[in-house]
Symmetry: C2
DNA sequence: ACATTTTCTGACTAATTTAGTCAAGATTAA
DNA sequence: TTAATCTTGACTAAATTAGTCAGAAAATGT
């Protein structure tokens, strides 16, 4: 059960954008530098984010990217979906070679995985970019779970 | 965010074992047949499950595998861990090339991913093999979320 | 007009992971 | 002994990941 860099980088970059693009557009190289990510990989991701209407771009000098919506309204789940990071815990399609092709007795675990996927989605859908910015800065590695809307 | 077949197959096979090994050991080929999984792949998985003390094996004729503990006490999270299916949503190690190497300001998303991992683990840790067996049989594809301890 | 900065886009690729297969041995029961 | 079964490591084809490369297009400053 892994999260690929695609999803992780996208959220990192969007969080950066949320915090820094308030007055003027932010360039990819700025973000790449601040977050320590490869620029040319970000280009790919931002293309998708723009096509999904999450960000707006300005070309040329003094250009860059800005959020297309208020940070409060952009959910983590939306970002993940935009860069093709699906929450995929079952391969129970009608045509799959293995799995429960219409054989309900083989499907004991199906509900388990479906439930897990719903669980994850609900979690990511409840947290917005704004929530990320508002949390207290904390050293990496020394993690204590938060109360309430636990990040 | 994907679940690999390793974790999925392991849970499927263990659930099968829980339901069928009450009176006598169950062979891998039986499980493979019932669940529609490749035998030789299951061998690999069962090796790990045995080494982690989740199942017991008997060799020779009439041999096979049995649960080493009561189904009630075997949590899904334990099975996943046993076959090396870690819940990995961050790569925030001290030596990673990208990520937040001691730079706390770059770590806005860290708590998010840690929280997600905890969330997933809690979910998988709350469900036992017995829970899987006790749920009502239901056609694959027609899924309605359950109440209470939602599978 | 021109140079510079920036986004935009598709094609390509090396490394890793996944999802197995293959082959040979060890152990036990009949 | 023979057949069934687990045990184990080595191997591999295919897919995915995580990028890189190259160049076009657009906007801006001089």
């Amino acid at each position: 059960m892994k999260l690929s860099t695609k999803g992780r980088y996208a959220v990192m970059a969007m969080a950066d954008l949320a915090g820094n693009s308030t007055s003027h557009p932010v360039t990819l190289s700025e973000i790449a530098l601040r977050q320590g990510l490869p620029v040319q990989y970000l280009e790919q991701l931002f293309l998708k984010l723009r096509r999904q209407g999450l960000i707006k771009s300005t070309r040329g000098q003094a250009g860059g990217y800005v959020l297309a919506q208020h940070a409060k309204n952009i959910k983590i789940s939306t970002i993940m979906a935009a860069v093709d990071e699906p929450i995929q815990v079952t391969r129970c399609t009608p045509n799959s070679e293995y799995g429960c092709q219409g054989r309900p007795e083989q499907c004991v675990t199906h509900n388990l995985w479906e439930g897990l996927a719903l669980h994850i989605l609900a979690y990511l859908n409840q947290i917005s970019l704004e929530d990320l910015s508002n949390q207290p800065v904390r050293k990496c590695g020394k993690l204590k779970p938060m109360r309430g809307k636990s990040l």
